[in-house]
Symmetry: C2
Subunit: 247 residues, 2 copies
């Protein structure tokens, strides 16, 4: 049986999980959200690595073929340390997000805007991965308030509008926008509209499931993936969110 | 030597610490902020109690006379459990906040509005303490987004205005407002202005230091309180914030 693990700081990784279910690549998904300690995006590097290594220990309880790190912040800071401590393959979301940009036809001098948490932006992970692929016009913007706004379910309205204006008014019109946080796809339309729907929007969750589909291939069109959900706090709330998001 | 401990989920308790310094009641303050796991206001009861008991163990390393729980969420949920596990006195901020209301001349049928995090409001701690003192018109409102907004330093402007409107537009004009979170005093003026500066504003931090001054008495007008700062993540950042706030 093909079994995959998904690790996220909270519930946001369910958006990646949904893509994985739709891709029909794995028979079982073990999801672990560190809901007691979310958000990670305001934590410092040492703390993020410490918590990420605890997650590796958790996943050692299961025979997984691959661990997806759905959280951009963990992907940006802790992959090397996690790999050194695990006996399974680990894949973050930063590289697939950048590969998704590469797979489009935008030019190397296109204006690319990365939106993410404080920790992810500070790590420089997206910026250096993009530079490494030859892109030269990269703007990176910390948009931390988007996280609690999405968590309050305020996907539109005056608060979100004011926050988008606050963060993005100084940004040049981007050719592509990388949504570098699992929460941001939920306000994708509002971000896109702010730039007159003229920017290509890249969501790492979609990118990663495309990559896995290529690598592993679809198992069966009728496959019903089994999901096992774990949380460091209030697993019932995670299960309820999963019910809403995944069905 | 009189030594006091101050526990908070993050840096917010420094506002209480400042009041304690000004009151000149203690010669040494041991401050511990659980900055790695902040915010507590979105966590559930079991997690809050677990983290609060870890803080008790931390303070057992020092001979303190009293522990102040500056965090409203911990005060609302975990005081009994903390007291059962400690050999020092523990004081939360909910009771002093309510006593501060009692010490004013507002009537028992005055409209009282409690603003706090999701966890604090859900606990019902302020509501039942106020009812217990005879107040009958109590409104309680979760205003969770105020926390990250204050943490981003957005003490005024369009985002805060939209958020105040979102949370408070349905509230009746209050006679008194209890700021039930250490972050909220930083946006006290904006909240007050929304209600035409006609509401009495109660801040638990001020209330607790008044209570301690009464109980212990001022030591010495020239006393320079020594502060020792500890954090579960990035103590340097806590020290920098303390430098900004306390001097």
């Amino acid at each position: 049986m093909r079994r995959i693990g998904v690790f996220d700081s909270g519930v946001g990784g369910l958006s990646v999980t949904k893509e994985l279910i739709n891709a029909r690549v794995f028979e079982q998904i073990i999801y672990y959200g560190d809901t007691a300690r979310v958000p990670y995006g305001v934590k410092d590097q040492n703390t993020i690595i410490r918590y990420a290594l605890e997650a590796v220990e958790f996943f050692k309880n299961f025979e997984i073929d691959l661990l997806i790190v759905a959280c951009n912040t963990v992907s940006a800071y802790a992959l090397d340390e996690m790999r050194a401590q695990s006996n399974f393959k680990i894949l973050g979301v930063v590289e697939p997000g950048v590969e998704a940009v590469v797979s489009t036809d935008i030019s190397l001098d296109a204006q690319i805007l990365v939106l993410a948490t404080h920790a992810t932006i500070t790590s420089g992970a997206y910026q250096s991965a993009l530079q490494h692929r030859g892109y030269s016009n990269i703007a990176a913007k910390t948009t931390g308030l988007f996280v609690p706004i999405v968590e309050e379910g305020l996907y539109s309205g005056a608060i979100l509008d004011a926050t988008i204006e606050h963060y993005l008014s100084a940004c040049k019109q981007p050719d592509a926008i990388i949504l570098g946080c699992t929460h941001f796809p939920l306000i994708k339309d509002q971000i896109s509209r702010y730039f007159n729907n003229k920017s290509l929007i890249i969501h790492s969750g979609e990118a990663i499931s495309m990559q896995l589909l290529e690598e592993f291939g679809e198992i069966d069109k009728n496959l019903k993936t089994e999901i096992k959900l774990f949380a460091s706090q209030n697993p019932e709330a995670l299960k309820q969110t999963a019910k809403d998001w995944l069905t």
